[in-house]
Amino acid sequence: MVEHSAFAGAQAVTATQGGTTVRAIEPLSVVSVTAWRGQEAALADAVRATFGLDLPQAGRWTAHAGLTAIWAGPGHWWLQRGGRSALMQELAALGDHAGLIDISDARAVLRLRGPLARDILLGLLPLDLHPSVFTPGQVASTIAAHMTVQVRQLDDKPTFDLSCLRSYAGSLWRALELASAGPPRLSALSA
């Protein structure tokens, strides 16, 4: 196999307690899209017209027909598809309104799913992930175990995607391992 996992050395899928799982999501095609100043609306229109996708507001992500848009900062999004695809070419027309940079291999993503997911994340992320506060459709970037980590909630199972710089993949894996090592911290919140 030519492609190599960012998590080389770690098991690709592992079960933690209580039916909660973690697995690597790769490969992905990701393009960083930064609107030129004043072109945010034009960019949004172009994305909507071409891909039928609404660019998300701050702190949110949206998806349509396999294309996901993740907010990464004001005027800044990551457009993402699963698997390897020629996403840069697909998005080329957006270049009138924005700067496009391929970051498909720049990040490593772990998907954490199951009833203990929140309890585990209490031990990692300095974010309020309570269901009344953080819901599917939201994304946030923060510091965790001395790394920049982006967390994105996919559904209510709950499922979270965590991503970090690819070179830190092993350390993110390790951080999750440590965060899930002991018995659950609070049964109430993880229910």
Partner: protein, 83 residues
């Protein structure tokens, strides 16, 4: 401390990188040396309200102007540094 990022919401100050006083204007290329000395080195350093530059380095990566009381750490406002 918690800093209310105008883009991401309130976060712990460990997500941010601090630079120093905001509101300093970079002198023109042909400005006198005194103007540059002033810009690069001299600071009001007030005890009280202070406008300062923080970057939300682990979040949206935006540079922000945060206005904060240096005696109590109370934050009055945080806005994007791009005018």
């Amino acid at each position: 401390m918690r800093i209310p990022c105008p883009h991401c919401g309130e976060r712990g100050n460990d997500e941010f990188f601090y630079l120093g006083a905001a509101g300093l204007t970079r002198p023109a290329a042909d400005a006198q040396p005194e103007a540059w000395h002033d810009y690069v080195y001299l600071r009001d350093n007030p005890a009280g309200k202070h406008s300062e530059l923080w970057q939300h380095a682990h979040g949206c990566r935006r540079w922000l102007v945060v206005t904060r009381d240096t005696r109590t750490h109370a934050v009055f406002s945080a806005v994007d540094a791009t005018p």
